[in-house]
C-alpha cells in the first residue's frame, strides 16, 4: 500500500502543479453542472409549455418513467434531465483521461520511467497507483458536481417531483456506482494506450474514444431505443464491473517493462 500511496502522491503533486491541467479538470465539471441547471431553470418557469417541448415529442418508451401523478411538464423535464444523467456519466470518463493518458508516456518523454522501474515497485502497484491517482479526482469531481446540482435544484425552482426523481435510485446508481466504474475503465484504457504509444497527444486522442459508447447511449435514449432506468442501470453496472476487472488484469499483463524501456525512442 505504501508504494501505491507514493505513486498517487507523486502523480497528484505533478498534476496539481500544472495549472493548465487543473483548469481542464475543473472546467468540465463546472460546465456540466451549470448547463443542466440553466436549462432546468428556463424550463421550470412554465411547466405547461416547456419551451415548445411536449410529451408527444418524447419517445413513447420514455413515458414508462413518468408516474401517473406527474404533470406532462414534469415528465418532459425528467426526460430532459435523463439526458443530463449521461452527461454526468461522461465526467468521470473524460476528466481522468487527461491525467492517465499522460501518465506512462509522460514518464517516457521525461526519461523518469527507467529510474522508477528500477525501484522495487511491482507492475501491479504502479498501475493501481497511477489508476487511482487519475480516478479519485474524477470521482470526487463527479460527486461534488452532483451535490452542487442537487442543492441548486430547489433554488432554481425545480418541482419536488423532479428533484425526487433525480435523487432517486437511477441517478444515485449512475453517479455513485456506474460513474466510478466507468472512470476505472476509462483510466485503465488510457493507461494501456499510454504505455503503447510514444506521444502524449496520441495517447489522449486515442483514449478519448471512450466517450463514444456513452454518446451512443445518449443518442439511443433520445431516439427511444432504450430508456435509462434502474434496470438498465443495474445491467450497465454489472457489465462495467466485468469490463473493469478485465481492464485491470489486461493492463498489468500488457505493461511489459522491457518493451516500454527498449522500444522507446
Amino acid at each position: 500500500m505504501k508504494h501505491i500511496r507514493t505513486i498517487i502522491n507523486k502523480e497528484w503533486a505533478e498534476v496539481f502543479k500544472n495549472r493548465m491541467v487543473v483548469f481542464t479538470m475543473s472546467f468540465m465539471p463546472l460546465i456540466f453542472t451549470i448547463l443542466p441547471l440553466v436549462i432546468l431553470f428556463i424550463t421550470s418557469r412554465d411547466l405547461g409549455d416547456m419551451g415548445g417541448v411536449y410529451t408527444t415529442d418524447m419517445p413513447v418508451e420514455f413515458l414508462s418513467v413518468c408516474e401517473k401523478d406527474m404533470t406532462s411538464g414534469e415528465c418532459v423535464q425528467i426526460y430532459i434531465v435523463n439526458q443530463f444523467l449521461l452527461i454526468f456519466l461522461m465526467m468521470p470518463v473524460i476528466i481522468p483521461v487527461t491525467i492517465a493518458a499522460y501518465s506512462i508516456v509522460g514518464e517516457k518523454t521525461t526519461h523518469s520511467l527507467e529510474p522508477l522501474l528500477a525501484t522495487p515497485i511491482t507492475t501491479m502497484e504502479l498501475i493501481v497507483g497511477k489508476s487511482l491517482a487519475a480516478v479519485l479526482p474524477a470521482i470526487m469531481a463527479g460527486w461534488v458536481s452532483f451535490g452542487v446540482f442537487l442543492v441548486a435544484l430547489p433554488v432554481i425552482g425545480v418541482s419536488e417531483t423532479v428533484i425526487n426523481y433525480i435523487a432517486g435510485p437511477t441517478w444515485l446508481l449512475a453517479v455513485f456506482v456506474a460513474g466510478p466504474l466507468m472512470a476505472i475503465a476509462s483510466v485503465n484504457f488510457a493507461l494501456f494506450v499510454s504505455s503503447r504509444v510514444n506521444d502524449p497527444r496520441v495517447a489522449e486522442q486515442i483514449a478519448s474514444v471512450l466517450i463514444v459508447p456513452i454518446l451512443g447511449l445518449l443518442f439511443a435514449q433520445l431516439a427511444g431505443v432504450i430508456v435509462v432506468n434502474v434496470f438498465v442501470m443495474l445491467i450497465f453496472i454489472a457489465g462495467m464491473i466485468l469490463v473493469d476487472i478485465g481492464m485491470v488484469y489486461l493492463g498489468v499483463d500488457i505493461f511489459q517493462r522491457e518493451n516500454i524501456l527498449t522500444h522507446w525512442k
Binding site: N18, H111, S112, E114, P115, L117
Partner: protein, 314 residues
C-alpha cells in the same frame, strides 16, 4: 558482488534481423571494486546495466548481483542496487526534496528525513531543497540523481555515464563523490565514454563492443598493448651507446629519436639504474628520464581497432 556468465541479450525486431546487443558477457566484479565499462555508442553498455539491474531480462546466460540471481530475484536485486540512469529522469515540477522523498518511499527507506538531509547536504543541494528541479543546472540535476540512487544505501551502484554533458567543475564534483563512495567500500559499475575519468576512478576496466574485448587494470591494459617504454633525454647522442643497452636482458627495443633514447623494456624499476650507469660510463650527459605513458584513450582506440581488424563480430 557482480558475476555474469555468458550473459546475452538479443532484441527481436519486427520484419528485420534480430539485434544482438550483448553477447557472452562473462565478468566478475569484486566487492568494493570500481569497475569501468568502456565502449562506443551502441556497444550494449546500457543494455548490460539494464540486465544487471533487473530492468530487462537476459536472453540467455546467468548473472548474480549481490548474491541474487537475475531473472529470479529481480525484486531483491532492484531493492539492493542503486542506479544512475543515462538521463537523470527527475520530476521537474517537483522540488529536490519531493523527488528524493518519492524514491525513499519506493525503496522503503526507514528514516526518510535523515537520509534526505544526509545526501542533500553531502551533495551541496541543501539550500535548494525546496526549489523545483526544473530550475536546477545540469550538474545539480546529476548530483540529485546520484543522491536518489544512494537513498537506500545500496552496496552495489550502477552509474551510466555519470559525468556525461557536465561542465568540468560539475564533472569533478561528481567524480569526487564517486571517490567518496569508493572509500565507503561500495561496489561501483561505471559505464563511461570519459576515458580519463575511467583511468582515474576504476580499479579495472572492461572494453566492450557487443562482447567483452578485454578486461584488466588500466596499467596492465597499457602494458599489454604497448609494453613499457622509458625515454632518456641526453645532451648529445652517440649511436655507439645503443648496443650495450640493447644487450641487456628484458630490453626488447632501443630507438634513437633526435637526442633521445627510447627503450622498450619489461622492468624499468630494475633496468633504469643499469641503463643510466652504462650511459654515464660512456660519457653521456643525462638531462631527464621518464616513462612514456600511453593514455587510456590510446589503449581504448587501439583495442577497438584491433577487435575490428581481427573481425570480432557479434
Amino acid at each position: 558482488m557482480i558475476e555474469t556468465k555468458s550473459l546475452t541479450k538479443i532484441f527481436q525486431v519486427k520484419n528485420s534481423q534480430d539485434v544482438v546487443a550483448v553477447k557472452d558477457l562473462t565478468i566478475s566484479v569484486a566487492e568494493g571494486e570500481v569497475f569501468g565499462f568502456l565502449g562506443p555508442n551502441g556497444a550494449g553498455k546500457t543494455t548490460s546495466v539494464r540486465m544487471l539491474t533487473s530492468l530487462i531480462a537476459p536472453t540467455s546466460g546467468a548473472a548474480l548481483v549481490n548474491g541474487f540471481e537475475v531473472g529470479k530475484d529481480d525484486q531483491k536485486i532492484r531493492r539492493s542496487v542503486g542506479i544512475l540512469t543515462e538521463s537523470p529522469g527527475l520530476y521537474e515540477r517537483l522540488s529536490a526534496w519531493k523527488n528524493l522523498e518519492i524514491y525513499a518511499n519506493l525503496y522503503d527507506v526507514e528514516d526518510v528525513d535523515r537520509q534526505l538531509t544526509k545526501y542533500l547536504q553531502m551533495l551541496n543541494l541543501w539550500s535548494r531543497r525546496y526549489d523545483p528541479v526544473g530550475s536546477f543546472s545540469k550538474g545539480m540535476r546529476q548530483k540529485l540523481a546520484v543522491a536518489r540512487a544512494l537513498l537506500h544505501e545500496p552496496r552495489v551502484l550502477f552509474l551510466d555515464e555519470p559525468t556525461s554533458g557536465l561542465d568540468p567543475e560539475a564533472a569533478r564534483l561528481v567524480r569526487e563523490f564517486i571517490e567518496i563512495l569508493r572509500g565507503q567500500g561500495r561496489t561501483i559499475f561505471i559505464c563511461t565514454h570519459n576515458l580519463d575519468e575511467a583511468d582515474r576512478l576504476c580499479d579495472r576496466i572492461g572494453i566492450f563492443k557487443t562482447r567483452l574485448i578485454t578486461i584488466d587494470t588500466p596499467k596492465n591494459l597499457r602494458q599489454k598493448l604497448y609494453g613499457r617504454k622509458v625515454v632518456f633525454h641526453l645532451r648529445a647522442l652517440d649511436q655507439a651507446w645503443i648496443d650495450p643497452i640493447r644487450a641487456l636482458p628484458r630490453v626488447s627495443e632501443v630507438k634513437s629519436v633526435g637526442q633521445r633514447l627510447v627503450v622498450s623494456l619489461d622492468d624499468p624499476e630494475t633496468l633504469n639504474p643499469q641503463i643510466i650507469r652504462i650511459l654515464v660510463e660512456q660519457g653521456a650527459d643525462i638531462q631527464f628520464v621518464g616513462e612514456i605513458r600511453h593514455s587510456l584513450e590510446d589503449v581504448y582506440l587501439q583495442t577497438i581497432k584491433d577487435s575490428e581488424d581481427i573481425g570480432v563480430k557479434p
